[in-house]
Amino acid sequence: MRLAAAVLILVGLAAWPFIYDQPFYVHMGVMMGLWVALALSMNLMLRIGQLSFAHGAFMGLGAYASALATMRLGIPFPIAFLSGGLAAASVAALVGPIFLRIRGVYFALLTFAFGEVVVLTFVEWVEVFGGNNGLFGIPKPSLFGLQMTSRPAFYLFALTFAVLSFIAVRAIYNSQFGAVITSIDDNEMLTRSIGIDAPRYRLAAFCFSAALAGWSGAFYAHYLTFISPEAFGFWTPVNMVVINVLGGIASPWGPVVGALLLVPLPEILRDAKEYQVLSYGILLMIFLLFLPDGLVGLARRWRGRWRAARSAEGRSAAGLEQGKREKRAAA
């Protein structure tokens, strides 16, 4: 029943641009898909209790790797695209073992400095990365000789990418792997004592998260056909975090809801200009103060209450447990 509903919704999501062909909305759909994937990659990091400001850099690494592979080396798009994520993941695998030893706020600061160094490298190494000017004329994706130029095609790509990212992240959380990385956040000593190699699990999560950001970057590069370092600076990971905070970080639905809400927001506030940024900041403060579990947390709480009211036995224990977990993850 739930599967049927999910399939129906997906078919609907995939079909609308072909029925109601409004390129601007399709463009917004593409951007939403991109940000769902980016926010999911940040969600993985928050799940292991590490706030990473290096994810803008990982996105950039993926973008530049894929763009340069197609432009300079003439590598076909699918391989270049895959290599974008792999490039980001390899860098993560390289620095991860050292970085992940650092915890909490120090990790955030460390990744921030690392992200800045990567972006400054894009700026300074002009021969390879094109400096502040960036790379211009990145080829649009092509599959089996067919070039993807129409917006609905891009939309399908973005939708598939976002859905696959969601399925992957959810599968991770529901598996034993997910239980371990979550418990790492809760109690590392305990996990270690039952013989699980927690650092390796954490590294794997970090690498997959970087890969997701890298693929998002590769997609971004081939969609816009233009990239420059500023797009991968400090504010990109901040936006990923903000989406998670709005949606709720305790569930993979959080980043999805957050992205679907936040990406079109500037378009709705178009006429507001500077007030757009102001309302963004105020909204964020309100959420942090009054909805620390995000929208998904709020929905869960309401559902929990509703269920508790319905069943006299008060089987809401499960819901309560859920709430506790969210609290812990949020803190």
Binding site: L46, L51, I98, F99, I102, G104, V105, Y106, A108, L109, L110, F112, A113, F114, E116, V117, L120, T121, V123, E124, V238, V241, V242, V245, E274, Y275, V277, L278, Y280, G281, I282, L284, M285, L288, L289, P292, A330, A331
Partner: protein
């Protein structure tokens, strides 16, 4: 051609040793401002465990206070700096008691809250004052010619102010009851609580003093650079680097880190380029965080 500008300007930079002397003097003057920013930043972290991403915006508020009081209303410059510093300090107390209070001990949420405050203040300033970079006339002009190097008088004023503030701050921490309490909280908040230090008072006080220092730095630098809503981003970034170099929460570390970064940057920016200097700053941060996560003078956990 005849020079239409004042002919009283000294000459400089004749040889290599002169270049070096100039590098030292540039670096020292910049470093002192870094110290001022980093002190507040590190104090706030030490006491409240909050990474204050809004620190640059407090600096910006100090800058705009100078624009209004000194630039538009024609107040005395030194009075302006003092009023701006205390004004921003009070604003900081307000921020802490209204918004940040709820995030003590929750490092990640606290960091995001500080970011939200930064975004809001920046956007607000952009709406009120417009996007253009603005300038105020300089209260002090001319340069001090040391032979091997020249130091503009306005930089000297900033340096002098910084030293006075540093001395006052040191006195406050060493010899006043509140200062002692604050140091106690920085070192061990639980022990301090046992000993009867009330965080409900120490937290706003620490955030207020941190804001005061940032606001004062902004007010001091306003006539030297330009004033605009994004002016705090760079100083905040520098404070960030300095504080990690010296150790988050370490006050002597902030002083040492600030001067060190000022000198290192001045050297590499003169010899190579500013971007190289910035990169070296961040590379230092990475290395130190990995090998000495508590910084050069930070306590080892």
């Amino acid at each position: 051609m005849t020079a239409p500008w004042p002919a009283v300007l000294p000459h400089c930079c004749a040889g290599r040793h002169m270049l070096l002397a100039q590098i030292l003097s540039n670096g020292l003057m910049t470093g002192l401002v870094y110290v001022l920013m980093a002190l507040g930043f590190t104090l706030i972290f030490g006491v409240m465990r909050i990474v204050n991403f809004a620190h640059g915006e407090l600096y910006m508020l100090g800058g705009f206070a100078t624009l209004i009081l000194f630039g538009n209303l024609g107040w005395n410059y030194y009075l302006t700096v003092v009023v701006a510093a205390f004004g921003v300090g009070l604003f900081g107390v307000l921020l802490q008691s209204l918004l940040l209070k709820h995030f003590i001990g929750r490092e990640l949420s606290g960091m995001i809250m500080a970011l939200a405050i930064a975004i809001t203040l920046q956007a607000g300033a952009n709406i009120i004052f417009g996007p253009e970079e603005q300038s105020v006339p300089r209260p002090v002009t001319g340069v001090l010619d040391l032979g091997a190097a020249v130091v503009p008088y306005d930089r000297l004023v900033v340096g002098g102010f910084t030293l006075v503030i540093l001395a006052a701050f040191w006195f406050f921490l060493q010899f006043t009851r509140w200062g002692l309490a604050m140091r106690a909280v920085t070192q061990d908040s639980e022990m301090a609580a046992v000993q009867g230090v009330r965080p409900g008072f120490i937290h706003p006080l620490a955030f207020g003093i941190g804001s005061l220092l940032a606001g004062g730095a902004g007010a001091l630098m306003a006539p030297i650079y330009t004033i605009y809503s994004y002016m705090g981003e760079l100083p905040m970034l520098k404070a960030f680097v300095v504080v990690i170099l010296g150790g988050l929460g370490s006050i002597p570390g902030a002083v040492l880190g600030g001067l060190l970064l000022g000198l290192v940057e001045s050297f590499f920016a003169t010899m190579y380029s500013t971007t190289v200097a910035t990169m070296i700053g961040f590379a230092l941060v990475i290395v130190i965080l990995i090998f000495r996560p508590r910084g050069l003078l930070g306590r080892t956990a």
